[in-house]
Symmetry: C2
Subunit: 413 residues, 2 copies
Amino acid sequence: MSTRHEATPPLSGIRIVEIGHFIAAPFASRILGDLGAEIIKIEPPGGDPVRGWGAQSSGASLWWSVHGRNKRSVVVDLKQPEGIEAVARIIARSDALIENQRPGGLARLGFDRRRLQELRPGLVVAHVSGYGQTGPARDRAAFGVIGEAIGGLRHLTDHPPGTTDLPPPRVGISIGDSIAGLYAVIGVLAGLVRRSALASQGQPDDDICTIDVALTEAVLSLMEGVVTEYGALGLVRQPVGARIASAAPTNAYPSKDGRWVIIAANSDLLFQRLMALIGRGDLAADPALKNNAGRLEHVELIDAAISAWSCTFDAKRLAEVLAGADIPSTLIYSAADIAGDSQFRARGMVREVSDPRHGTLLHPGIVPHFPDSPGTIRSTGPEVGQDTEAVLADIAGYTAAEIEQLQKKGVIA
Amino acid sequence: MSTRHEATPPLSGIRIVEIGHFIAAPFASRILGDLGAEIIKIEPPGGDPVRGWGAQSSGASLWWSVHGRNKRSVVVDLKQPEGIEAVARIIARSDALIENQRPGGLARLGFDRRRLQELRPGLVVAHVSGYGQTGPARDRAAFGVIGEAIGGLRHLTDHPPGTTDLPPPRVGISIGDSIAGLYAVIGVLAGLVRRSALASQGQPDDDICTIDVALTEAVLSLMEGVVTEYGALGLVRQPVGARIASAAPTNAYPSKDGRWVIIAANSDLLFQRLMALIGRGDLAADPALKNNAGRLEHVELIDAAISAWSCTFDAKRLAEVLAGADIPSTLIYSAADIAGDSQFRARGMVREVSDPRHGTLLHPGIVPHFPDSPGTIRSTGPEVGQDTEAVLADIAGYTAAEIEQLQKKGVIA
């Protein structure tokens, strides 16, 4: 009666080809692979340059173990016609394709819309680029930092104007690429849902379904009311540093040992509770601070009072005292805090994974979590081309003799 | 032969119930609604408090026009048994449910797993919370700022240690909630893909499919190799401010008129081109700066040379000069820059939308973009309960007399 016991991850049986490099497209296929899809990563001879990024151990990138996990690596020289043919045969047996060449690059390889449709009616194709596949800026080069700045994220990630001469810091990870990757995943899955819906209605399913994700636009889509407020009121939203513009008190507060602790006590009730905890019953009783509007007006005073208290505790103790009083709060976690967090460990979100090259490594877990079919990290980032022969034989239908021939010509590796 | 002409958005025909508030769950349903799903937002009398957030015009939040778009609003008092029954009847006719009550909250309302399965075999249920539905911290209160700090994002969004006494700035938007929302969308869609796959195999489809998204974990999943590098090497990654740790030069550079321009010229070729542009052929020719490792070592020198040049131009002119030389670069966009950007306009990513209360507003576009079936913004954020009667009649099957009765009792509004 129940399918629960089967516990296959949700995307089992879906095959996805990635013609990607660096971060956005490979991040998208990592998420799809984590959820059980078979990922075939097409790489040039020598492999995706992202394989070398980040800190190294045993002569290899540690990040790659994560970024390449649950993927098969197929090395094909796309400058040779036989290489294109090999990829065509893989695409013909796949459900979706994710790529992040410059706009038009895939078509220049020979995989224009018409060809893809011939190869695999119903294929879902996600294009990821800096500015999108169309429009006056489509050919401009873009990296993540560019997309983050154009989407509006960088402007707001800063201290208030006039506070410091330092430039606005970058969000310290590849956030623009990752967000674009998440939208590419959403596009691929929505395309698959649509394909199934058409099939179940007995409708033809012969066209391809195209998705066009731009880094700039992926970032913009998270910008709340920023554009709307500007259009209606001429309001140009400005950064507010460590605070929240609309509610107080919420800030990062210093500890005795030089760390920062986040306290978010901006409801009337939480404010009362926090003021009692820090021994400032006078502020709790002050009618001017009773509601949020009043607290925003006197936020400097409130933050000074909280800081004067917070900096008398070491950070860990401070976090305990706040948690004990049920005030929403936390240490600002470093990598060490993440690795040691009991909640992450209990939920498998920091887990030990065996990597053939590195031995046991810590990996982040699989998100989103499907409790009944959580899936596994089936493999860590593969060696360059380790699956070329198997994929060409099993999926693309090449004979052993043909594969040997392609190897000799340097078409595959 | 082609289905292209139909151009229905990809999630047409999918119905999703949202029992959500504030940001994460409502953001997830906004994205699903943008892609064509029918969204039924269940709200308490008075509505979701997020309706009042952000700058106001005509006595109403402008953000709400965006955050609530493509949704129907149904007001039900969930403290009354008849209210629960009404929601049960809506769930029975829906494909998925997204909620962000505190863990266990949905079950306490009566919608535990068994009940949901009785109501709608095959239902996809996404739970969004701060720390997840299980584990020692599940009951702790969490806001977005907490999730961002625990996931590791906040620590890395800062200037290098020792640069300033200012606290690490918040990413100036609700990034943790939004990322969790995107993962909830991915979960719902993967659940729908799985349901279709089971159905097409003739397998029973009677269990519900549960997804458990935590803010902390959604953030952690974007943290590249941070946890892995710590585990293997004891390396605690530190913030690097406006630069990128692994490649130079990439930074924010000042303009004459006090703005910041991003320049990302960290390949060997781009570095040569940029040095020629700024009249520093001596640096272009310096063997010590020929490759990335050398440039990282002398990054202060390089950045000083670029800044000395950049601050002789006003920002707009600076951006033009850089674009003319094909150097990846951009102004850091404010709301005004976004609203005026020709690429965003050309792609409908900043578009005019008619709002019954506000008149014409600027909205961000629909992401991800499906060029063949781009969908539309069918409606802006609804008035509280404006669709209650229609949904109860058309979907839940109540008679007009029954609806009147529920209104009199204050069960619906």
